[in-house]
Symmetry: C2
Subunit: 235 residues, 2 copies
């Protein structure tokens, strides 16, 4: 079987940002969606290739506002011989009084759990399934709402914590991941709950599509500009 | 007469980037359009305020493909007591064989003339009429076509030449300049010729409007992001 194009794109990101090293213990955030499932599948295949030896563990956070990971997904992960940790938290209980539940709060809680679990269990890397479209949407949101030129970086080195975040899908468009999951009959669940108020992200998704005409090559140029920063020619 | 809002915006840019100093000799690029005329008017008023003493001279380049500056504009500049230099060049003759005339070539030729004239005549600053919309459009063009995060800077310090470029309109939207010119009955001429192929800029203008909904506050946020660069959170 020829190696899939998606995997070559992930290879490139991992190589360019030195995301994986011999002896890594990698905790993979598994949301239940297509992106993190494709990422986990890549890591499983790479582990089999033994380019370097590393451990992977999948970590899913079940909340009181989402339906949780499906039995189908649990079977898939089991068949790949990857330990799956499922942790239940109540994001509603943690909500400060007077505050409305929103995607930002829920994802912050989940990220905190992921970080804590990684550190308590000696993982040195956390792998997340964010792809190029996510990164460019976040860029647009930060520019147009926060007035800041920033986005999710392929590698985040925390100053305080002995753990790194890696985003191996950073060079892949969402469409390539969808295609990959379709070809592999991965049925994914989208994050749905009754509290969704991520209108900013939906708006950013629309804007990204408008300025790139949905063209992967244009998106790649835009992504490339984020490593080709000419500070003298900014403000 | 209360000071116009546009002038306060220009004041802020000049203050923030220290664009004007005592004793400056400033050459103002006068295209014949609204932007550089509004800029020149501001500089004339500022010279009258005597916050600092500086010289201004307007410089217009007439080419063989444009109609040139109108007598009406010449009268206005004369009435402001600003020397106006008009230089004629042939952009068609300078075109390399086999190349098509385009906005980029024409403007490069005009910029070269402006730079040369400034240096030959001891001007230490060149003031250009680019505004916020121009800067954001150039940003989008550079990101999406060149894959580079860059645009026209409010101040450009040439390494090789003893002259600086300043863009005092950098914080102003195009609409404010249009309003100002309308209020002051400045009839401006748009650059028109038979060779226009600036479809990239037109495209960028449309895209800027799509992602900002034409909202000045959103454009200002976007502009602000260009001085609020978080390099750790890029690629």
């Amino acid at each position: 079987m020829p190696q899939h194009r998606l995997f070559r794109i992930i290879d490139k990101a991992i190589w360019e940002y030195k995301m994986i090293s011999q002896g890594d213990k990698i905790l993979v955030g598994l949301s239940g969606g297509k992106d993190s499932l494709a990422l986990l599948h890549y890591l499983v295949k790479r582990r089999m290739q033994q380019r370097e030896s590393f451990d992977i563990t999948a970590f899913h956070i079940k909340t009181d506002i989402t339906s949780g990971i499906s039995n189908n997904l649990i079977s898939i992960v089991n068949s790949w011989d990857v330990p799956l940790i499922i942790k239940e938290i109540s994001v509603l209980e943690r909500l400060k009084s007077g505050k409305k539940m929103n995607c930002w709060w829920c994802s912050t809680q989940r990220r905190t759990e992921l970080n804590n679990y990684a550190m308590e269990n000696s993982f040195n890397k956390i792998a997340l399934g964010h792809h190029m479209d996510d990164i460019l949407e976040t860029l647009l949101m930060n520019m147009l709402q926060k007035g800041e030129l920033s986005t999710m970086s392929p590698v985040v080195n925390y100053r305080k914590y002995p753990v790194k975040v890696i985003r191996p899908l950073c060079f892949s468009s969402e469409q390539r991941i969808i295609d990959y999951c379709t070809e592999n009959n991965f049925i994914s669940e989208t994050c749905t709950c009754d509290f969704q108020s991520n209108s900013f992200r939906k708006e950013a998704r629309k804007k990204l599509s408008l300025i790139t005409d949905g063209d992967e090559q244009v998106k790649l140029k835009m992504l490339h500009s984020l490593k080709n920063v000419n500070l003298e020619c900014l403000l």
